[in-house]
């Protein structure tokens, strides 16, 4: 095997890990960074997106439309959850963890009861291509592009739109924003819906690549949490670079020792990073800048 195919293989694995980390963490990072709420039901929003995507594809819609339906369904559930539960707990951040944990239990077990222990999956589209001795899935490349597109879209949303300006104002000084006539409750609802929708998008995008079971959210949340912890509160200064660094750790450890050690590498990375940079990468960058 020559250097070029080896480099491509490493790059491909890095891209795959990066896409997984960023896509699964984005929704969590938006909700945490903007609202300080840790959504332990994040994995179940992902599951919701994946299930709705699969169901609509089975009903005959093309996959991209199915993913859109999954995203919207998750965002809708997010609005409901915010209205019924999260809204009452903004003063008590630790309690939001406990409450969303309860929601996650309800969602997992409820799905198991309603849909059954497994759901028919969706085939991975696009097929594969050959580089050197190995074949690679084209869909994984699509996922990597999707991760970059999501980051770009979020940047545009929070920097160039009216909603973005209002949201950032609300996050910085809530009562000042309210005094200036911003409906902060609405902003919080929309932000939560946005985070839930991103989780649904991640679920929809990964639905063709994995088996759909009620506990599938658990495969995402550890990676998502680790990325958010290392990244800190800011999506662009935190989640994206954290995704990059962790992807190197994960793909390196995985190709060296296997999947489990990739995850153990992530865990060790997070424990060391929290000791050195308690506010994550974005906290470090922002402190350097001031």
């Amino acid at each position: 095997m020559d250097i070029a195919t080896l480099a491509f293989s490493a790059l491909y694995q890095f891209g795959d890990a990066f896409a997984f980390l960023v896509l699964s963490a984005c929704g969590l990072a938006v909700i945490f960074g903007m609202m300080g709420v840790i959504n332990l039901a994040h994995g179940e929003f992902i599951m919701c997106g994946a299930y709705v995507t699969a169901a609509t594809v089975h009903a005959g819609l093309p996959l991209p439309l199915g993913i859109l339906c999954g995203t919207l369904a998750s965002a809708f559930v997010g609005v409901l959850v915010e209205l019924l539960v999260i809204r009452h707990l903004y003063e008590r951040p630790l309690d939001t963890i406990v409450a969303t944990w309860g929601l996650s239990l309800i969602a997992t077990q409820g799905t198991l009861i309603l849909v059954g222990s497994t759901m028919a999956g969706v085939g991975t589209p696009f097929g594969s291509f050959q580089v050197g001795a190995y074949s690679y899935s084209i869909y994984r490349i699509v996922l990597f592009v999707a991760a970059l597109a999501v980051l770009a879209a979020l940047y545009a949303l929070f920097n160039w739109t009216r909603f973005g300006v209002l949201a950032r104002a609300t996050i910085q000084v809530p009562h000042m924003a309210a005094a200036l006539g911003v409906d902060t409750r609405l902003i919080y609802s929309l932000t939560f819906a946005c985070g839930a929708g991103l989780a649904g998008l991640a679920g929809g995008l990964y639905a063709p690549t994995m088996t759909l079971v009620p506990t599938m959210g658990a495969t995402f949340i550890m990676e998502a949490f680790v990325t958010v912890v290392i990244g800190g509160a800011d999506v662009f200064l935190g989640t994206a670079p954290a995704g990059g660094i962790l992807a190197i750790v994960k793909s390196g450890m995985t190709s060296w020792q296997g999947q489990l050690f990739g995850q153990i590498g992530l865990l060790i990375a997070v424990i060391i990073v929290v000791r050195v940079l308690p506010k994550g990468i974005s906290g470090f960058v922002l402190r350097e800048r001031t």
Binding site: R92, L94, A99, L103, L105, I106, Q109, A218
Partner: protein, 354 residues
């Protein structure tokens, strides 16, 4: 002698509910009832009751770290598992002779405490607090479950003990009391019941003393306002670390007793669901008080078991609903709320009479 008296005086104090002759009379009554209970019941039911008691220790550990210390930890189940596996590995390798099971119990708890000390050092000295603490401990727990679940192959063995992957370890010897007429193994029966009950009473009273001592007051002060506690000259990182380690040891005791009770331990005892259950008992009971935690755990656990018998699938959904509603409606816990309500009513009656 005066030291001992002042120690006993700490059984009552501002950090624990219940004081005065009335409370201790009730305590003695409940204890007498618990002691007499095996006389009126059969061995199987008594063994089942031990199962409830086993979980109280992990609930108390969560109450200590979360309710009193103010740091939410999902790591208790990890320490539970570490100690459980530790006991299994030690006793399968070294047997049960000469009272070794008791040394294994202590060593297994020590292992859990050691892991907690390491992890706690990185977290508390990195000044991780609030929601991040929860996430890091949760990640550790899930990681440990995944790690143990993939140890199915024959290469995963420590001495004579196979780890057995998802099926877990089994057939470790029960706790055994060395005796002159031959050792007495404690199976899930009346013997184990009395041993665990004694441990439970000791731990409960010990924690009451600890929480009402100056150490406990500092822990509560840190929960209420970490900055202020620090300004008053306490190194809050050390206090938090010590609390975390004590909590891990209690969770470890729970894990060892669980392993002893059923003579098996599986990775799923460290999974998401397993981690959520102690949280539910403690939250519903009332996390900031030891007595409320004990009562809440026993009530919710027996309710959960009854539900599992009649509507197995829906039990977990019901638990989730219970947790969400508790957080929304009675953030301090249902049992604690009821106890406080009754106390208020009684004092008002007294005032009216006077």
């Amino acid at each position: 002698m005066t030291g001992l008296v002042s120690l006993f005086r700490r059984l009552e104090g501002p950090q624990t509910l219940g004081r005065g002759p009335a409370f201790w009379a009730l305590f003695a009554l409940v204890l007498a009832g618990a002691l007499a209970y095996p006389l009126f019941s059969d061995g199987y039911t008594v063994g089942n009751t031990v199962y409830f008691f086993v979980w109280v220790f992990i609930a108390l550990s969560l109450s200590l770290i979360w309710g009193y210390g103010g740091s939410l930890s999902f790591g208790q189940t990890a320490f539970f598992g570490i100690a459980g596996y530790g006991y299994g590995i030690l006793t399968i390798n070294f047997g049960a002779a000469y009272g070794f099971t008791w040394i294994a119990l202590l060593l297994a708890i020590g292992m859990a405490a050691l892991v907690a000390a390491l992890l706690g050092y990185f977290m508390f000295f990195g000044r991780i607090a609030g929601v991040f603490l929860g996430i890091v401990t949760l990640a550790v727990t899930l990681m440990l479950e995944r790690f143990m679940a993939q140890t199915a192959g024959p290469e995963w063995r420590i001495g004579a003990a196979r780890l057995n992957g998802f099926n877990g370890m089994s057939a470790m010897p029960p706790l055994t009391i060395p005796w002159f007429g031959g050792p007495i193994p404690l199976f899930a029966d009346v013997g184990l019941y009395y041993v665990v009950l004694a441990m439970l009473v000791l731990v409960y009273l010990g924690l009451r003393i600890l929480m009402n001592s100056s150490f406990g007051n500092v822990i509560v002060a840190i929960r209420e306002n970490p900055e202020r506690a620090e300004m008053l000259g306490y190194d809050i990182r050390k206090y938090q670390l010590i609390t975390f380690v004590i909590g891990a040891a209690l969770a470890g005791l729970s894990g060892v007793l669980y392993t002893v009770w059923g003579q098996y331990i599986t990775p799923s005892s460290m999974g998401m669901t397993a981690a959520s259950l102690p949280l539910i008992w403690v939250a519903v009971g009332g996390r900031s008080d030891l007595t409320a935690t004990v009562i809440g755990t026993l009530v919710v656990l027996s309710g959960f078991q009854a539900l599992t018998i009649y509507g197995s699938q829906y039990a977990l959904v019901f638990m989730g609903v219970l947790l969400v509603l508790t957080v929304l409606i009675a953030p301090n816990g249902l049992v604690l709320g009821v106890i406080k309500g009754i106390t208020k009513l009684v004092t008002r009656r007294k005032q009216e009479a006077a």
